[in-house]
Amino acid sequence: MILNPLDFSGRKVLVTGAASGIGLATCKLLSELGASVVAVDCSETGLANTLNSLSGTGHTSHCFDLRDVSEIPGALVEWAQSDGKLHGLVHAAGSSLVSPTRLFSLESYHDVMAVNTEAALALLCGFQNRKVCLKEGGSVVFISSVMGLVGSAGASVYAMSKAALIGLTKSSALEFAPRGIRVNCVAPGFVKTQMYERMALMWNDDQRRQVELAHPLGLGEASDIAHSVVFLLADTSRWITGTVLVCDGGYTAS
C-alpha cells in the first residue's frame, strides 16, 4: 500500500461557503481525498449542486445563514450529533465590499464583519466544543486575504475583516495547541470566482489588466486555494499552527 499523507478516509470536515468559489473547490478536493464533507451555505439550491458534484459518500449539508452569528456554536453541536464529530473546519464563506470610505455605512460594515470575521470566531467556538471536534484534536483553516496584509483603495472594510482573521488565527492557535487543535489561515490573492467577477464589474479594462499584471503567475483558480487548505488540514502540516499561508501568484512579493 502506498502511504498517502493527504488521505482523508474516515475524516469529516465542515466547510462554510460550500456552494461556490473556494468553498466549493475545497469540498470537491476533500471528497476526492476520501473525506466526508459537511457543506454549509445559505443557498439551498447551491448546496444541492455541491452535493451532486462530490465524490464518495457520507456527505451532508445544512442551509444556514452565518449572519445569525449567535446561533452558530449551537448549530455545530446539533450537526455533530446528527452527522458525527469533525476532524476539520474550513471557513470559506465571505462577503466582499469595495466602497470608498466617504460612503461609509454601518449596516454594510456589520454585514461584512458578521460573515467574514464574527462567524469565524463563532465557528471556532463551536468547533472546540468536545461534542463537536474529535478528542485527539483537529485542524481549522480560515480564508483570509492578501487584503489583510497589504492595502487597496476602497477595500478598507474588507481589509479590516480579513486582517482580523490573522489576529484570530495567531491567538487561537496558542489557546488550542494544548488540545491538539491547529489553527491556520490561507491568504489568497485575486482568484477567479463569482465574488471576483462581481468586484471586477466595477473596473474598466485597464484596471482589470493591472490586477492581472500584479500577479506574476496570473490570476488564481479556486482549486489553487483548495490545495493549500487541504495541506493545512492534513497531517502533512502536523507542526504548523498560527501560520498565514499566502497563496497569491506572487502578488505580495512584488
Binding site: 499523507p5 495567531k170 491567538s171 492557535a173 496558542l174 495547541a177 494544548p178 491547529r182 490573492g189 506574476p216 503567475l217 496570473g218 488564481g220 483558480e221 489553487d224 486555494i225 490545495h227 493549500s228 487541504v230 495541506f231 502533512t236 502540516s237 502536523r238 507542526w239 504548523i240 499552527t241 498560527g242 501560520t243 499561508l245 499566502v246 497563496c247 497569491d248 501568484g249 506572487g250 505580495t252 512579493a253 512584488s254
Partner: protein, 249 residues
Amino acid sequence: MTQNICTLITGASSGIGRETAIKLSDSQRILLHGRDLDRLEETRQHCKNPLDHYIWAADLGDVKQIDTSLSSALSRNNIKISNFVHCAGTLHIGPLRLQEHDATIDLFNINFFSAVEISKLLIRKKINSNILHGIIFVSSTASKFGARGFSTYCASKGALDAYMRALAVELAPDVRVNSILPGAVRTSMTESIFEDVDIINRMEDGYPLGLGKQSDIASAVEFLLSSSARWITGQQLVVDGGRTVNISG
C-alpha cells in the same frame, strides 16, 4: 524515470536535507549534494531505488568553484535540474564581540552566496535548457525574529528570504521560488543547542506543538514543489509548531 531530470538537494548528507532527499526519492530522481562522499552514499542507500540518484560532492564554502563543479557534475551524468532545494546551512553561535569576519564570510557563503551561484547556474539555458521550475530555500524563523548570539545567522537567512522574493518576481511565471522557515528541529547542525536537557525542556515550553521533526519540514518542501502549490511564489512558509506566534515563549 527514463530522463535524467533531477531535484538538486544541497546539504543532503544530514538533517533536513537528508530527510527531504529520502522522502522525495519516492517520486523523483535526486542529485544529492554534500561535502562528504561517504555520508552522501549513505543517504543514497536510504533513498528509494538508490541507483536512480546521483551525487555531487562539493564544499559550498568555496563559492567560486560552484559554477565549474556543478556544471561538470551535470554534464558528466547527463542531468538537468527541475527543482532546487537549498538545505545546506551552517550556524555559528556567539556574542557580537566575538564575531570574526572570516567566520561570518564562511557562514554567508554556505547559507546565502552558494544559493545565489547555484540559482544563477540553473537558469542558464545552455546548461539547464530552461528545465528549472521550482526553487525552495530552507531558511529559518531567525529570518524574521532575533535571538541572542544568532546575529550573523539571522542576517544570512534574512538575505536568503529577500533574495527569494526578488527571484520569485524576476523568474515568474517559469520558476516558482519560496522559502520555508523552520523553528528548532534537532539535527547535526543544531546539536550544540540540544546537548543540555535543561535547554531542551526550556525550548520545548516555547513550542506550543512541541519540538518538530525533520519530516515536518520535508513535508512542507514536498507540498511547495508539487503542483498543489502552482500559484504560490515569493512566500515564506513558517513551520514552527506555533513558536513565533507565542510571545510568552
